[in-house]
Amino acid sequence: MKKRDVFFAGLAIILFWQISALIIDCNIMPSPFIVIQIFFKELFGGDMLEHAAASLWRVLASMVLSVAFAAPAGLVLGQSKRLNQLFSPVIYLLYPIPKVVLVPILLLFFGVGDLSKILIIFMILFFQILVLVRDQAASLPVELLQSVRSLGAGRRALFRFVYLPASLPAILTALRQSVGTAVAVLYIAELIATQRGLGYYIYFNGSTLLDYPVMYAGVLAMSLLGLGLYFAVDWMEHRLCKWQFVK
């Protein structure tokens, strides 16, 4: 997609927001220009940065953990038919469960700190990465594996030269596809039993202080967090998996 088109799309959304604010003309729909002003004021003068940092830390920690656990597990399952047969039914049952409903249970077990929030995002990303990496590893053409084997590659070299690079696009695709859901679930998790994070910040300003422009600034911050992570993964995909984008 062209950068110019994305820029104009962003402008169009802001314009639509502004027109809506003018039509609705009520404090529950502040103008984007007011919200943007407050956003910067809160970010540099208020405590929004602290909340954003807490949220960002939770998402990043979950991303790192999920890649660290799901990618090797996916590679093992993708290489071993027997293990895959054993675990497939379990994954089949667990994968579609909306992980957000597990939030209360995780809170019971892991308390109200960062761990329960990191774990819930971890679970969402884990299954997505596991399934994509497994399928990617299992779908490598036999001819490719045989021809690399014929060059002298044993298990370790196959892993290094074939399975590892083959799983990279799957990991990044999984992250890109699920980072939006991850941030959404983080919002839910931060509504409960915490005083740090953008979810709490939005809820507290909107429902307790009834300060709608600040609440909107929080929503903007959380949207930018999701968008920023999406763009970061997308950038990594273009950089690390160049071959997928060549013509």
Partner: protein, 255 residues
């Protein structure tokens, strides 16, 4: 490098043996083509030679030793899918050297002697006319160029045995003839033993000094056709070549 099939039997589980008590010899430097209809087991025979499948009976000896895994000095080139899609032409051509470097000169995965430290494949890319494409990915180049890359990757390892499984069957006629000639030249330059599997009678006749004809399983006795003029200049247009193709076609119908 001498190959010997000694009373070799190979069968997939529950199926008719493809080879049964099969005896066959390949002398160093010979160029063989293996011809036969689909399902006759010619690819299986090549995979046995590559050390990717193992006899269910009898022995496969190379230089007197049983083959228990892929030899570091055999090169295998397949019809398609042999290149890493995420690696450039140069990186693909370097792959064999990098695999050998990864293990070091252990005599199992890589030949004994020096561990390759220099992964320069540029001379091979130049020899195969790929130097301008070295930064392209496999999806960006033609089928013929992909096979040239596979050949460069294999030859960079200085093999003594080149195994090819219908390497040119997906190419157009001009490219196919071009790569056949190139392979003949390289075999002569590098003093390679060649075993090429093909289902095309014309290709078998052009490439193989000796042609092994396989029929429907079980194959018990090798049918060998001598073709000493293969590879000589002008052979493609000569009467003996046309006669041989005719003979092979008739024999294939019989087997």
């Amino acid at each position: 490098m001498m190959i010997k099939f000694n009373e070799l039997t190979f069968a997939y589980r529950g199926a008719t043996p493809i080879l049964q008590s099969f005896n066959w010899f390949v002398q160093p430097g010979e160029r063989w083509t293996i011809l036969g209809p689909s399902g006759c087991g010619k690819t299986t025979l090549l995979y046995l030679l590559a050390g990717l499948r193992f006899p269910t009976g009898g022995k496969l000896l190379i230089d007197g030793d049983p083959l228990t895994r892929p030899r570091p000095t055999s090169g295998l080139i397949l019809q398609e899918y042999g290149l890493l899609p995420w690696a450039t032409v140069r990186e693909n051509a370097e792959l064999g050297l990098r695999v050998h470097g990864f293990y070091g000169a252990d005599g199992i995965h890589a030949p004994r002697g020096e561990t390759p430290m220099d992964f320069n494949v540029l001379p091979w890319l130049e020899r195969l006319g790929l130097d301008r494409l070295s930064d392209k990915y496999p999806s960006q180049i033609s089928g013929g160029q992909r096979q040239r890359t596979a050949i460069a990757r294999t030859l960079a390892l200085h093999p003594d045995l080149l195994l090819m499984d219908e390497p040119f069957s997906s190419l157009d006629a001009v490219n196919r003839a071009d790569l056949q000639n190139l392979t003949l030249e390289l075999c002569a330059e590098e003093k390679l033993t060649l075993v090429m599997v093909t289902h095309a009678i014309e290709e078998a006749a052009i490439m193989g000094e000796k042609i092994l004809l396989l029929g429907n399983p079980p194959n018990k006795k090798p049918i060998i056709i001598s073709n000493p003029n293969a590879g000589k200049k002008g052979y493609r247009d000569s009467q003996p070549y046309i006669d041989l193709c005719h003979d092979l076609r008739q024999q294939m119908e019989v087997v």
